[in-house]
Every structure is written in C-alpha cells, then in structure tokens.
C-alpha cells in the first residue's frame, strides 16, 4: 500500500477496522435473513461471497503461483525452460473458451485428467483400499487382545468390525439369483446380511448427521457471539 494511502487511512476520523466490522455484521445479518425467505439482501451477500472468493483465488494464483514462475523463466530461461512449456499448455487450456480453437485445449486437459486420475487411483489403492483391508484382518481371539474383560471387549469390537464390513458389502450386492436349494439358501443369507448392513449404514449416517449438527452449531455460536460482541463494542466505543 502506498504512503499516501496509508496517510489517508491514518487521518480518517474513525478506525478503518470499523468499516470491516460493519461490513461483516451487515453481511452476517444478510445471510441470516434467509430464515425469513429469499430477499435481495441475501442475494447480495451470496453474490458478493462468490465473487470475492473467486477474485481472491484468482489473485492468489496469479501473485503466488504464476507470477513467481514467470519471473524465474524470464530471468533464467536456460534453467527454467520447462516453465515455458507449462505456460504454453495453460494458454492452450484457456483456448477452450473459443469454439473454433477449443480442440487445442484437449491436450492439456488430457494431461490434467490423466495425471490426476492416475494419482488419485494409485493413492486410493495404496492409501485406502489396501491399508483398510489389512486393518480389517483382526484376530477374533480374546487372548490376542489382552487378559480378562479387556480381551473380550476388543474381541467383540473386532467381531463387530468384521460383521459390519461383510454386512455393508452385502447391502451393495447385486447379482442374479441363485438356483437350486443351495442357491436359494445363499440368496436368503445375502438378503439378511444386506439388511443388517443397511442398519449399520443408518447408524453411520446418524453419526455423520450428529457431527454435522455439532459443527454447524459451533459455527452458529461463533457468528452469534461475534455479532453480539462486535456490535456492542461498536456502539460502546464508536464516537459517531
């Protein structure tokens, strides 16, 4: 910020922080007004939020991602020649907005999608699937977990883990019905296990709902306390 701007702000009769606080209070009330129904204040706050978020992300990307690398490329092109390639791919990607040249953006888009998908898939396999499968293989013997009730408690926990895993997998089991007495018996078993799996899913979703409710209540509490404390401070300490 330039010296003149800083001096102008310092000479203001009131603290510039007050403007930010007033804006925060008004925007918070505007968002809360949605309780009464859709209104122009809520729409204004909504559009402002989206616009500021996009602008902030764009400014951050330019100032801290693109510009430093561009400066490096221009300062030392022999060393950072590959940045030119990346910038070229980025420009080609932007051409997707022009219908006649949209096909040129297929290459960088393909690189993006392919690389991201490959990394995501590999990470999901090694980081989630294999690790979780390995963790699901737990001994059901109480003696392996400790002595007395502690061992039995852990064994029960391991049993529930195994049962829940199989039951939830059965809930998503879609296959042609088996024939014959053995097939019919298998169908009934899978159906019963799937029904139990859906109960497990309901409990899981209930836990997620409870966590979400707690989280949102904490956010509400924070906003309400902000409104009250800042608002009271404004009226208590403001001179205008």
């Amino acid at each position: 910020m330039s010296d003149s701007a800083i001096k102008w702000l310092a000479d203001m009769p009131f603290d510039p922080e007050v403007i930010g606080t007033w804006l925060a209070v008004l925007l918070t009330l505007a968002v809360f007004s949605y309780i009464l129904g859709q209104n122009i204040a809520f729409h204004l706050a909504e559009h402002l939020f989206v616009g500021v978020s996009a602008g902030y992300a764009g400014g951050l990307a330019w100032n801290h991602v693109i510009l430093p690398r561009l400066e490096l490329l221009l300062a030392n092109p022999a060393t950072y020649w590959y940045y030119a390639l990346f910038f070229a791919l980025g420009i080609l990607l932007l051409l997707r907005g022009l219908r006649p040249l949209a096909a040129l953006g297929d290459l960088p888009l393909g690189i993006l999608v392919g690389t991201g998908s490959g990394l995501a898939l590999g990470g999901a396999l090694s980081g989630s699937l294999v690790a979780q499968m390995r963790a699901s293989v737990i001994s059901l013997a109480p003696a392996d977990h400790g002595r007395g009730l502690v061992g039995w408690a852990f064994a029960l926990d391991a049993s529930l883990l195994l049962l829940g895993t199989l039951a939830v997998l059965s809930a998503f089991h879609y296959r042609a019905q088996g024939q014959g007495p053995l097939g019919i018996l298998g169908n009934r078993f899978i159906r019963a296990l799937g029904s139990l799996g859906r109960k497990f899913l309901m409990v899981g979703f209930g836990a997620l709902l409870a966590g979400a409710a707690l989280s949102f209540f904490a956010l509400l509490t924070g906003r309400l306390i902000f409104l009250v404390s800042q608002f009271m401070r404004l009226f208590g300490g403001a001179g205008f």
Binding site: G37, H64, P68, A120, S128, S215, A218, V228
Partner: protein, 614 residues
C-alpha cells in the same frame, strides 16, 4: 385348437383331454385361431388379431359330444385324418369306416381349423385358381365380416350383412362359403343358393358396398364341381359329392381362388399377371368397435385444479408460500390444523437453537467445570506434547473462513502448545482460502507470544496448487513446490526455519487442519504411505466419522473433532479457554435435540400408521 388350461399345450379342437398332461378340456379358457394361431378367449367369436371367425363353443361342445358318442376307433380317426390330407392334396379319399364321414374334418396335419359340421364345404364352389401362391396358405381361412356381430347373427339373421350372405353355405348342396360377394343375382348359379347363416336360417344376400366398382366375376357352376387348384399349380381331382362335407368352410375359402373370394377388390388387377396376392385381412374393410371417450372423474378434476394452483403460483422457498391447494372439505380442516402445528413447531425449534447459541453470553460458563477430556483427546494432546524442539512440524491449514468459528480455537490451542516448546513450524495450504486462516491463526499467536518470530520459529509457505500433484511434488522437492514464502517473499533457503528443508523427508510431523474429508484423504493417500511421517488430524466434527477408519488402522496418529473436542483439548493441553466458553450453548443444544427427538417420535407414534391416518 384348444389350449389346455393346465399346461398350455395346444390340442385339437375335438380333443376331450389334453394330449400332454391328460387334463380334461371341458373348461378351457383359450383357443388358438386357425388362421394366425393367436390365442383368443373361449367366448370370443372372432380372432382379435386377424378377425377370423371362430367356431362357437356350443358347436365345439356338440362336436365333442358327437365324437364321444361315435364309436370311432383310433384307427378310424387316423384313416379320416389321412383321407382329409389326401383330399386336400387332390388324392382320392379312402375312408374305410362310414362313421368317419361324420367325423369333424381336418384340413391337414398342422392346420389350425375350427370345425363346423353343419356347414357345408362344397367342392362345387371350388374352382381352379389361375395360379397357386403360397401366400394363400398363410391367409386366414375365413374372413370376418366387417360389421359382424354375434348378437346380430343370433338375434336377427334376416338383416345380416353382405358378408354373412357371401359366406353362408347351403349344407345340402355343399357350396363354399363366401362364394359370391356382391353377386346376389348370381348367387344361386354360383352355388351359394340361399345363403344360410350358421344356424341354418336363410338370409338374403345383400348388395355389396364399398368394394369398388368393378363388376363381379362370373360365378362357378355348382352342378359340376371343378377340381380345386392347389398352390403351386397342383391340380386336385374333384372329390366325390360327400367329400365337400368333410371340408370346413375355412378349407373351402382357403382353396377358393382369390378372384372368387374378393372379386370386386381384385377386378382391377385381373389383367396383371403374377401379381402379389392381396392379403385378405388387409384388403377387406374391417371396422373396430368404437369406444366411448371417458370423461374426467371427480378425482381427476381435483388433481387438475391442484396442479393448476401449484403450477400457477409464484415459487417461494419460505414455508409460508402463497400456495393454497384446494382440499376437499372433509380434509381441509385436518390439513390446516396439521400445517399450523408444524409451523409452530418449526418456529419453536428455531427459537430454541437461537437461544442455545446466545446462551454462552448470558450463562457465564456454567457447564465448563463438567467438561472432562476423553481418553482419545488426552492421547492426542500427549502426542502433540511429545514433539520436541528438534522436530520440524508441517501444518496444513485446509479450512476456509466459513469453518473458522469451529477450527480456529483448536488451531490456536495446537499452535500455542507447540510454540510453548519452541517447536519450529512451517505452514501451507492446499486451499486458496486456507492461507487466510493460517495468517489469522499466526497473528493471534503472535499477539499472545511476541517472542515467537516469523522466519526463525515459523514460516508460511503459501498456497500449494495441484491437489494430488502438488502433494506429490512436495514429497520430491520443497523448492519446486514453493520458490518463495508467502509473507516476506524470500526464498526458502534464506529463512532460518526453512533453509534445511529439501523434501518432505525433512519433516517429522504433519498436522492437518481440514474441513473437507476429500482433502484429508488426499493427504493420507498421497503423502503418508511410504513416508513414515506421523499425521495428526484436527478436523471438523462433520468429517470426523469419515476418518475414524484411518485412525483405527494407524494411518492417522491422532484424530480430534473440533466442535466436540476443542473444549476438551484446551483442558488437556492447558491452553487458553476459547472453545470452553461455548460449552453452555452446546449443552443447551443437546437438551433441545433430545426433546425434539422424543417429541417427534411420540407425535409420530400417536398418529398411527400412515394408511390409517388417511
């Protein structure tokens, strides 16, 4: 053919029991059309597909009765069957048993024909066709009159249509059915004689209508029956006088040349050689019985009005929308009462939540002393406390300002706990808005601990773009991921806290502050495997259940949900009470939640089943 009601096997029309399962066929439900094979109900007179006239059930019963009474041996039946086949093929019939002549005739093996013994199958009516064509075999043996009606036939045969007249036969002379269409003056010469309906009553052959203006062809001579012309030009010897009685009317019609069956229709085509024969069913007019249009019922009118109200009213997201559907009077009062009740309940719920959120301002931490940290929170606090000053900690601020109210207190508690032991910290974010959260948290820490200096004790690297790719790059090289820091803009090698950082291997602990489960999983899947670095997750309570499996498998060393764990963590770590001041509101909210859950269940159960309520 009669379809067995037990096994659906198709049996002969004169069968008494099913040839497949032996079940009696007296009460059969379906029978197959002799022309097209379509299944028709037992009571149907015409085939629903090709409109071929079907033998009435009474006649079938009479045939069955006759067959049952006639002492016919199996050999006799076979002989008759062979005779009929021979008759169709033009060979002289060889009927050994006289009683076989009384048997219902069959057109041949595989044919689907209903039997009408009193109907004459005249050989005199059969004349040689100009050319045999195979389509004739697929044509229905009998064409249904366009306005045929069973009631008309049975109640008032004198006003039978022209088609009935054309199809009527004289049993004594054995003339073919439908020999003359539109040639009522020539009908006697053609052998139709006096047209007869199925009941043997005489009907006047009516003048044809709508069949074109072509003149009717000359009728065949009835006195001297000609040899029928089979498809393919096979000449058939004229059967004896008794033979026509063995052929059904469908057979006669089938063997009759097209010109005689449809003289007016085919007259324009008379001069065309080798013309594709016209499909009888398609050529002859047949009229479907008109159905009366059904008007809307009262329920339909009510639904239409309701739809009009809903579609025409302006949309509103508020529960107090202007839509007022018109309910029936009996339901209007109940619906109104129910709506008012739900409105009151919803308003009370909102007020309860609002008061719970404002409670900490008024109550003054009444419940703070009851808060006891759980074992998991204590272990998490101990794990963070075990980080020494020689270790370098990487903190990822992956939450936006929207979740600052929940995660800021926990983040500040963790930072304070680390800063108290002068643990060097390096902060970054994989979300653009997370950098602001990092700046805010470290500004608050700097206010509490001014001696904790930027660049020496901590640094904010900035935004790490690329999601999975960025995290993989971080594992390879810090310098490629961040050329400069976020605050001072200096290169990483120039800051004391980051000058020794080359790759992720130089980091000893990772603390993750996240609001989104996908972000947390990204760290777990891309960074944690193979690196051996301890990952501590302090996340929003919204995603804590999603990360529990990773915590139980050991991929996450510590897991704390912010909304329900911040206050406990502050007690366990001895940090300044920020979240602890909100426990009164959380307690009131919990009580409200329980009351609402109990009340809704009681109300729901008191109403009974949904069907019973209506």
């Amino acid at each position: 053919m009669i379809v067995c009601p037990v096994c659906n096997h198709r049996n002969r029309a004169d069968a008494q029991s099913c040839a497949s399962c032996g079940a009696p066929l007296t009460g059969f439900v379906y029978r197959a059309c002799p022309s097209c094979g379509a299944l028709n109900g037992a009571e149907q007179v015409f085939c629903h597909r090709c409109l071929t006239e079907l033998t009435p059930i009474e006649e079938l019963a009479e045939e069955a009765q006759v067959q049952a009474e006639a002492p016919v041996s199996e050999e006799g039946r076979e002989a008759v069957f062979e005779a009929e086949c021979a008759a169709l093929a033009g060979e002289p019939a060889d009927v050994s048993e006289p009683s076989a002549r009384e048997e219902p005739t069959r057109a041949g093996e595989g044919a689907l024909i209903e039997v009408a013994p009193e109907l004459d199958t005249a050989a005199q009516g059969l004349e040689g066709a100009p050319s045999g064509d195979e389509e004739r075999e697929s044509q229905p043996a009998e064409v249904a009159p366009p306005e045929a009606d069973v009631s008309e036939q049975t109640e008032d045969p004198t006003v039978a249509s022209e088609w009935e007249a054309a199809e009527a036969l004289e049993p004594e002379t054995g003339e073919a059915r439908g020999a003359q269409v539109g040639a009522e003056s020539e009908a006697p010469q053609a052998g139709a004689g006096e047209a007869q309906d199925r009941r043997g009553e005489e009907i006047e052959p009516a003048a044809p209508e709508g069949l074109g203006e072509a003149a009717a062809p000359e009728a065949p001579e009835p006195e001297q029956p000609q040899a029928p012309q089979m498809p393919g030009g096979i000449e058939v010897e004229p059967p004896p006088d008794e033979a026509p009685e063995e052929l059904t009317d469908q057979d006669a019609l089938w063997l009759m040349p097209q010109e005689q069956r449809m003289p007016d229709v085919l007259a324009p085509l008379a001069e065309i050689e080798d013309a594709i024969p016209v499909e009888t069913v398609v050529a002859l007019p047949h009229r479907a019985r008109p159905t009366l249009p059904m008007g809307p019922s009262d329920a339909d009118r009510h639904d239409a009005e309701l739809y009009q109200d809903i579609a025409g009213a302006p949309a509103s997201l508020s529960s107090q929308g202007p839509i007022q559907p018109r309910w029936p009077a009996a339901q209007a009062g109940r619906v109104q009462k129910r709506r008012l009740g739900s409105e009151v309940a919803r308003t009370l719920l909102w007020l309860g939540v609002l008061l719970s959120g404002l409670a900490p301002i008024v109550t003054g931490n009444l419940t703070a002393r009851w808060v006891q940290p759980r074992e998991a929170i204590t272990l998490a606090s101990d794990a963070v406390a075990a980080i020494s000053a020689e270790d370098t900690v990487l903190i990822s601020f992956d939450y936006s300002p929207a979740y600052a109210g929940e995660l800021d207190p926990l983040a500040l508690a963790v930072l304070r706990q680390l800063a108290d032991r002068s643990v060097p910290m390096v902060a970054l974010s994989t979300q653009p808005s997370g950098i602001g959260s990092a700046e805010r948290a470290f500004e608050a820490l700097a206010r509490q601990m001014p001696e904790y200096a930027y660049g020496y004790d901590y640094a904010i690297l900035g935004f790490l773009p690329g999601q999975e790719v960025g995290l993989r790059l971080l594992k390879v090289s810090f310098g490629d991921a961040f050329s400069t820091d976020h605050v001072l803009g200096q290169r990483l090698g120039e800051l004391p806290v980051t000058q020794n950082l080359t790759t992720l291997e130089d980091i000893d602990h990772i603390i993750l502050l996240a609001e989104d489960g996908a972000v947390a999983r990204r760290w777990i899947e891309q960074v944690q495997p193979g690196s051996g670095i301890d990952l501590h997750a302090f996340v929003s309570s919204r995603i804590e259940p999603l990360l529990q499996p990773y915590h139980q498998s050991g991929q996450i060393k510590t897991l704390v949900g912010a909304a329900n764990g911040s206050a406990e963590y502050e007690i366990a770590s001895g940090a300044a009470p920020n979240a602890l001041r909100w426990t009164d509101g959380a307690a009131l909210f919990f009580v409200l939640w329980v009351i609402v859950a109990i009340a809704t269940n009681v109300v729901y159960m008191s109403r009974g089943e949904p069907g019973a309520r209506e």
